[in-house]
Symmetry: C2
Subunit: 226 residues, 2 copies
């Protein structure tokens, strides 16, 4: 990843084994869930003794933290590169489908981030920073050509509660849009990934798109005047 140019053979070897450990970790998470992640089991799968892994990760928590960090980074990268391809739909719709693709490619990676948290675990600051970057990407995309909508109580509230947006210049309506975008996407996606649509017979992709289209479609001037 970093400084591959000046890396010694030993450093490159270390990096490779660390990556290999993570690969097996993901594989194990996929079959037994994140909370059952075991260093010993990973070692066995790699044909090594358990203690060997302590050369690479100080303990179990450090490995999990790095998995979470990687997941956030991967999602942020995906969003960033999608946003840059504005021509091919870098707007909210493009981001939505990028997230969906990313999540379906590896459901456990999505769920590790946005699924039920392990009680007591607290992510380090640098991870919080990446999730803030993701929020910024959403705000950027939500800023482009927002459809006119009547002002809601939430818009009003957000005008005074926008710390989470940092110094992003987005107006309240855009903040609202970004939050709706996030929760709608997550609503469909997390139920789909958790298997709650299994056996229901309809295509989750259409529901996903419908929720997205609804967010992007225009509204009557003011619902209060009806």
């Amino acid at each position: 990843m970093a400084d591959t140019g000046t890396a010694t053979p030993r450093e490159r070897y270390r990096a490779q084994i660390r990556a290999e450990i993570k690969e097996h970790a993901w594989q194990q998470i996929a079959t037994t869930g994140a909370s059952a992640l075991s260093l010993n089991a990973i070692a066995k799968q790699m044909g090594m003794s358990g203690p060997a892994l302590y050369r690479y990760y100080a303990n179990r928590d450090e490995l999990i933290t790095e998995l979470i960090r990687d997941a956030y980074r991967s999602l942020a990268d995906t969003l960033r590169s999608t946003a840059e391809k504005a021509a091919e739909g870098g707007g909210l719709a493009g981001l939505a489908h990028a997230v969906r693709g990313w999540a379906l490619r590896d459901p456990q990676r999505y769920l590790l981030i946005y699924g039920t948290p392990v009680p007591g675990y607290h992510a380090p600051d640098d991870i919080t920073a990446i999730s803030a970057q993701i929020m910024t990407l959403l705000l950027d995309a939500a800023s482009a050509a927002p459809p006119r909508r009547p002002e809601t109580p939430l818009d009003h509230h957000l005008a005074a509660h926008r710390d989470w947006a940092g110094d992003h210049p987005a107006p309240p309506a855009v903040l609202h849009r970004a939050l709706s975008f996030w929760t709608r996407i997550h609503g469909v996606l997390s139920l789909e990934l958790a298997g709650h649509f299994a056996g229901m017979g309809f295509d989750p992709a259409l529901l996903f798109t419908a929720e997205l289209d609804d967010l992007l479609s225009p509204r009557p001037a003011d619902p209060l005047t009806r």
Copy 2:
């Protein structure tokens, strides 16, 4: 629960201890998460020896299954009684706030049902049946006075993929509404319960209401004609 009238003292005692075990189980889930549920730990907390619990539950899985069943039943009951109070808002809005209240009262109970599933666990049929009841309650509520909306591709799809609705007479637009209702509520609620809004500074209740209001508000005749 059942047959309290003809229950012998011994039966009543058994039922009481079973209930007490479940209470401690919920308490433990709240602090350590569902995957770490341990019969031994519950026994210790109750001042009993570990093997004693095997008088009441055949094994760990049976206990977890009953917790899940109870959770589904409790949610279904809450929805049902809310739906009956039509005067006080038994419609979708009423149900939404009932779900939210129910979830906030005990976040782990909501997450046990709708959170990240334990890989490999498969719920028995009677639980699936309760979740079908919940779906029916949603469909009933969604059927009442639906606002006119332009037909979407999803509506079209649902007309031909409605097995999950059983023999409910709801038209496609209502099916669509019920699904949107479900995913939007879950989207806001699950992110809130998982702590993803923590530190963002806005009031999740307002976002919840905004998502709901948007679902219930009218639409322009046809967005394709703009």
